[in-house]
Subunit: 333 residues, 4 copies
């Protein structure tokens, strides 16, 4: 995931990568040496980053804003230490997501949750912000306009998840070539809880989660990039197909803010029979756009449809960067 | 699909392939010539079939029992003609499946529906029997023990369908390599209606469909053989995990009949985290076994789980052959 | 292939698409209607093209320069008709490639062959120019610097070809998922003859093909875009690894011409163990760059190495566009 | 690879698995526990093996005949220790393959090399036998009949290797989905040396390798099982297509020995345009059969063709078992 951060931050109009922190094994080497042949993106390592000397865990850092792609096994403590040291950490790690005082934010959906930063115990500008799990982002973004317009009373999400979500080396090819694995470790509970926190409201004790049941069924499929999700919803009030499409298409809350990573149209609602598809639609809006489609009535709940998002851009590195952008725009970073 | 019929009937202890009927273009050539390089199974064309002279549509046939893998564009009329001529047709085509007087049968589930044969208008031993759509078979078999034991009040099925289900040439590689297509033409209505007919009861006017809503969300994935289905059910009465597993595991209604194609254990209920998987489990019991697993509670309905079956064996040719076997055992063929 | 032309010509600084010709079935409809769901690129149909009314075969066209992605079954005659009518046709079809008076050109390699246009029988600015087969381009580009520097005495090319080369629907998924097909219809003779024509010289009777044996072994692999070729060469004189790398790296004959589609570095010669790879390297330089690597001595001939190019960009539509650009630069269009 | 051994030995008419040795981590647990979810074959763990208590390295073993699927990092020393202790070791590990006193055998090709056992320093029935690398077996088997009939003067082998050859977890899915990797670590030298030892002759100092150059170009492709090899040969004397096909088809040196794992027809020489293919042909003769095809003249050397074999059956576990069978038949085990 660190690779995506560096790729997306390369040439970013607001942010510049001035230092890189990684494990003790990598510390002291140039980034290019440290990553070696594990660089798996189709663009080259940005020149400005390749020669940066990698710092080790807990090394003092000079940037105020930090992006964390740390592994969950170490992210919890390290991120807190840096927040305590006065850094504002935009993290993609799962450790603090469900902490009621830590914002779990998709800027288009719950930008106001960033106010939690003011309630955190850190001083000197320190703070902790998180973005959701790669599947939860797709689901929460697709549901948000429906929740706001009609209320959601129940949601079921069956995922078709790309292998890049598991990192490198990640999923062995023997497990996934010509196959589907009906299991992604830890994923279903994350989706079921994070989605409700994102769609929740600020209350006196932090975020009050939205109050409807979410059920997730997670699967890994032989796709490199792009999480497709088959969604079914029960709505609080009747809605027509036209109203639902309109809710998605008019969902452009950040448009006037001119954030570098925010797509003009966060949600593209398509009406063909067979879209969205990962191969054709995953890179829409530089991987920051969500695509929904196949809206049709459900005999059990109310409506069923498909949603697709890029799991390592909109669902991870791009999400953390967009969170940082909204923090800047709102004067918090 | 005709290829699978010939492969599975090769060496069958009860049936022998004595003639093959195909389109006018193929008529008059040996089967081996007619199929040419379109034979796509990993076993060779059976010797006994390779040299059979292919007959054209409407050619008189001498076998009483016919297996139909005809394309739906012609199956409707041709199958009726042969039934009128005194043949008993076990068809994999969709055309007559929803006719209330035509049995739509999975022998383990609704063997009694074969009684409809006695109500059909054909004389001289003529008749029409069908097996369900390849996805509907997987779904109906997985649901049947639950419906019998606990009653089903709603079911949602999200499919991960193999490309062999679309025949040859079928799905273009550009559409499916590294991709998922959230659409299989005509599939969702078939699943939603056929499942209920299979789980229905014989009544005075034919089959009375089971009375609960079924919702299907169909997807094509880059898998050669094996339809995986993520299922969610609402049950008529409370059931524990143990009771559900027991319902599946004790579902062996044909065991004493010693049908050549019926597996000893039609349903294998597994308890690992990550099974069933198409690549590992599709060929269980010669492709006639269903595998279920990943049973867990659902926050929206009651239970969720996964089911897997071989789409061209249990889901098509093997299904039609098993139907013929039960007809023989029950003295109807 | 027509789709790639339209995608690459969208926003082209020199060329503008003003009309589209296709089959009689498509004629009269807007391009967007005519192509429908067969548009398989990850970018949308360019707006300026979507609404163009498609013309039928032999319709009068007003542009001087035509790009032909016609199917070989009709390209032969149609292209000649348009050349006779005064159009300059840059064709990706195979029909006229081996005609000794028709240039078969990779601008970096044999730009001078364009002089053949002056010997063609067409008047009023009419003419016919072709680009090589998608595999032959990769092979000829990789060999050209070696041929110029050291002379080539024999070359063997084993291909790993992407499925997009076969068009749409093209290769059935049942043939290629988890598989390799050791056959691409008509491909080996094309490679063996086109490579030698490209590396040949202008003579009194047209192009005199280079005089060394080329052997091609063609395979289709489950890759969407990017032809990888394992190459073995026998050289006319001794060369060191360093000299060969230098020959490739200094191969930049078009650099000063500032052609819109010509990469600054046509050949990227890499020295890692495991490059080039289709997934990582195919899009280098907008799909117009060739990547070579894995140079090592061969116990049978002299050297072995790998070459990779984008089969529908550098190997087809981009090739035809680059041919048109050099024609413009050289005052021929 | 140990898994394939156990699968293939299950129900073997001559051999019975009485004990299993693995690493210290596994020692003391039942085999089923030790392998856990890493069992990746489509058949279940054999019952007779599942409950065997795994022994640790150097544990005394009671069987005379041992099959070694040890990792090369430990196989060297351990196999020697067991040979010294009087065990006859049939090894799939690479460590001792090129030792001139250790037979490197494909029974159909160089059964006589087993005589080297008599020259080894082990007493009490101890000895060491190896089978070739998974690619080298395919290549040597395909070449052997040509070498015997016509003499080979040079051979070039470009491989398309399945991922199962790299074990589990082995090749990461991110590296191979929709991709080709032009590198398999250590593979090219193994092919180039092992092939010549296999085709060599017994001499006073052990095996004298055959004396012609072999060049290998190795690639990993997204295929689960089956190494396809594109081969080019220069022959010592002229041969017609008919003679070459006859050389392959008459190559049945073990036919009368009735070895359980030896196919009746070790080499199937096909004449279609597009065979062999991994998906269709890999399992011929239980994975022990080689399939060749696409024989055609080569403009550079003499002939080119394709060969395919199952890399973990004929190319590994099945190879070691067949070696043991020939040792039994020849009275050496």
């Amino acid at each position: 995931m660190g690779q995506r951060f560096l790729q997306l931050l390369n040439g970013h109009p607001w942010f510049e990568v001035v230092e890189v922190m990684a494990s003790d094994q990598s510390a002291g080497r140039s980034y290019a040496e440290a990553v070696g042949s594990r660089w798996k993106l189709t663009t080259a390592i940005p020149d400005s980053v390749a020669s940066l000397r990698v710092k080790g865990p807990r090394a003092p850092l000079r940037a105020h804003l930090l992006f964390s792609a740390l592994d969950a096994s170490v992210a919890g403590g390290l991120e807190e230490e840096y927040a305590r040291a006065g850094h504002l950490v935009s993290s993609n790690a799962r450790n603090h997501r469900m902490n009621p005082l830590v914002p779990l934010v998709i800027p288009e959906v719950n930008r106001d949750h960033m106010e939690l930063l003011e309630r955190q115990a850190y001083s000197n500008g320190g703070g902790l912000v998180t973005n959701p799990n790669c599947s939860a982002i797709v689901i929460a973004m697709a549901l948000a306009p429906l929740h706001h317009s009609f209320g959601i009373e129940a949601a079921i999400a069956t995922t078709f998840q790309a292998t890049s979500g598991a990192g490198y080396p990640g999923v062995p090819s023997l497990d996934i070539l010509g196959n589907v694995i009906p299991f992604v470790s830890g994923e279903e509970p994350k989706i079921e809880s994070e989605t409700l926190k994102i769609l929740g409201r600020l209350g006196p004790k932090g975020v009050e989660a939205a109050d409807f049941p979410v059920s997730a069924l997670c699967h890994r499929v032989p796709v490199i990039d792009g999480h497709l999700v088959a969604l079914i919803v029960k709505l609080g009030r009747r809605a027509t197909e036209k109203e639902i499409l309109a809710a998605w298409r008019s969902f452009r809350p950040l448009r006037k803010l001119e954030l570098p990573s925010a797509p003009l149209d966060p949600i593209d609602a398509r009406t063909e029979d067979d879209r969205p598809q990962p191969r054709l639609d995953v890179d829409r809006a530089g991987g920051m756009g969500l695509t929904v489609g196949r809206l049709r009535r459900c005999p059990v709940l109310d409506w069923k449809f498909e949603a697709l998002g890029h799991n390592t851009i909109r669902g991870a590195a791009g999400a953390a960067i967009l969170n940082a952008e909204i923090l800047v725009r709102d004067g918090r970073a």
